[in-house]
Symmetry: none
């Protein structure tokens, strides 16, 4: 039998790539940087991935999957009232922010760097955002069906608008880790805007 293969080697490389791509950007990061981060020979990377783009592809997939996991943790049709839905948005917002707080590189990778590597990755990125929009749309549609959201809501577009608000928080953090402090304020602002609106309450 050969020298035993390091079992988590492939994942370790992806972890290192995640870090290094986020730190230097995809193009500026070299395979040697990757390998150096791990303390392995750079040729080793090529035992697990055909080329640099394939590494990026796998990193993006993992990153998107991690986000999808959070988004999909709740059921779209689990809420029957506005108050329940509001609570649900709180929970999802919290978890997402937690995710981006725990791994600030995630936002940088997903919302800036890896989405522009090539047409294929651009496509996969767009598809993922579409899927996230579909999730949000399902929540909204449930609310409209049950009567606690306004019937004239443009469900598809509003879903994207809402996601824009939410992911902008992640982008903030990606741009400036100091934005992490905004976590609670951000979620509160989003929820307030969505459910209470901007207008002053009429007495």
């Amino acid at each position: 039998m050969a020298r035993t293969a390091e079992p988590g080697r492939r994942d370790a490389i992806l972890d290192a790539a995640h870090t290094v791509f986020a730190r230097k950007g995809y193009t500026a990061a070299s395979i040697a940087d990757l390998a150096g981060e791990l303390g392995i020979g750079h040729g080793t990377v090529y035992r697990y991935f055909g080329n640099k783009r394939d590494v990026a592809s796998a990193v993006l997939d993992r990153a998107l999957a991690r986000i999808a996991e959070v988004v999909a943790a709740e059921l779209p049709d689990a809420t029957g009232t506005l108050a329940e839905y509001r609570a649900q948005v709180w929970r999802i917002g919290h978890r997402l922010y937690e995710l981006f707080a725990a791994d600030p590189a995630l936002g940088r990778l997903v919302f800036f760097d890896l989405a522009t590597v090539d047409d294929d990755l651009r496509g996969r990125h767009r598809e993922a955002l579409d899927r996230f929009a579909d999730f949000t749309a399902a929540y909204l549609r449930n609310g409209v069906d049950r009567g606690f959201l306004r019937p004239d809501l443009d469900v598809e577009v509003t879903a994207r608008v809402v996601n824009g608000m939410v992911f902008e928080g992640a982008a903030q953090v990606a741009r400036d880790p100091a934005a992490l402090e905004l976590r609670d304020a951000w979620i509160r602002a989003v929820v307030t805007l969505m459910f209470d609106g901007l207008a002053a309450p009429t007495p």
Copy 2:
């Protein structure tokens, strides 16, 4: 009196850079691509810019300035009622979307590519977003002061949240030009969310 030979030359280079960077991405675009787009020798670029990064820097500045122009076209304290503010948001949204529709490259440059060139550009990008947030915050604060926006609004954060919604539209278009069709629906969704909220009207 102009120091450089041809005063229009520098701008022409920036125009070409804007186009080429948006088409191929900053790193993939070469100085030769840039000069080729203009039909000038690539050595000439170095008479107007110290290096490639400086070109990117100037392109980003111009792009941000173009956005700032639109945002700053309205006066934050020009509105005294909710209806007026609503109309103002409509106008600003329309003009921004018009800008990104007229030049879809703009979004790609500002929201993806040039912001990740290096720390300095990253910083300038962040500052610009901060400035835009300040603008929006000024509008919101005016509304709170005049009493037509809710007094407990977290003005700073909400400004960023609102900008997130708006700029997400631009990012959509940058990712997929087909999203241009969403223009009116997008603005309507943003305005509805801000002013009418998600909740079904109580009878």
Copy 3:
């Protein structure tokens, strides 16, 4: 008693190398290709050969030996008349062509690829051709001695010239397997040239 584990293994590797070197060329063929052809681990090759060059060396030796076998099958002094010698050349020619027909890779290896690996192999190749020339020279010298070949023949050089004709047939096949069809025509042309000459018979 064999020192190596499996006595046939070494030969199997040489067979595979023969095939793969002929297919892809020495430099383009990797040790992994070689092992893959056999279905063994590529590390195993190094249990039987010190390095890639040693494999080439052994392949070349075997190939040259295979040719030598054919050339040496006849006895140089077995013929006493021109007609007998002519028949002998026919036989040798046929057998050589049969060899190159049965294994078209042989020509590619001997006449192109392996002879240029390094100075040592280049030398061994030259030596082998010298030995083949010596064989042919022995046939010619026998003919001169017995009086049925012209006495003023430059035996050494003519031997090389004759071999040139013969091996050129092999090189043809190595360059283009379709040349195999020429087999009989080729041998007839060589024999005619050698024994009948180009000139029209005088009446």
Copy 4:
């Protein structure tokens, strides 16, 4: 105007490539070797050739053209008698040998190295040999038509056989420059074989 282009730069690179490829073999020779031979930066090579293979292609073309020049210098139908043809073969043989003597690398490149770079070059090489065979065939056909060569000659195949003899001389030199001494003996042996045959003259 730019720094004036070295006028013979492209040719100088081909000369250096000719030398270096012949010395180390195509694959073992690096672009850096090439550039080093000339004392220029290796990047400069890429201003004149798209890649290494293109350099090889141009070197092969030049080498084949140089041989073709010699072969085509005589007219196939210029001879009316066996004696004239014999003299012509002498002349062509001499010139070819002169060529290979003046540039021993030529044989190595044409008959060994560059012909195996890839399928395209292999094809071009084969075509060139075919063209050379066509030349020789034209000479032979002329002789047959005029009646001084035997009417039953297989013109096509004999042309290749004859070329085999001739080019084998070049290959000799390519393998071992010492073979240059054989020049006159070689030509005499070829001519004798072609026109006098091997057989002892009958009294």
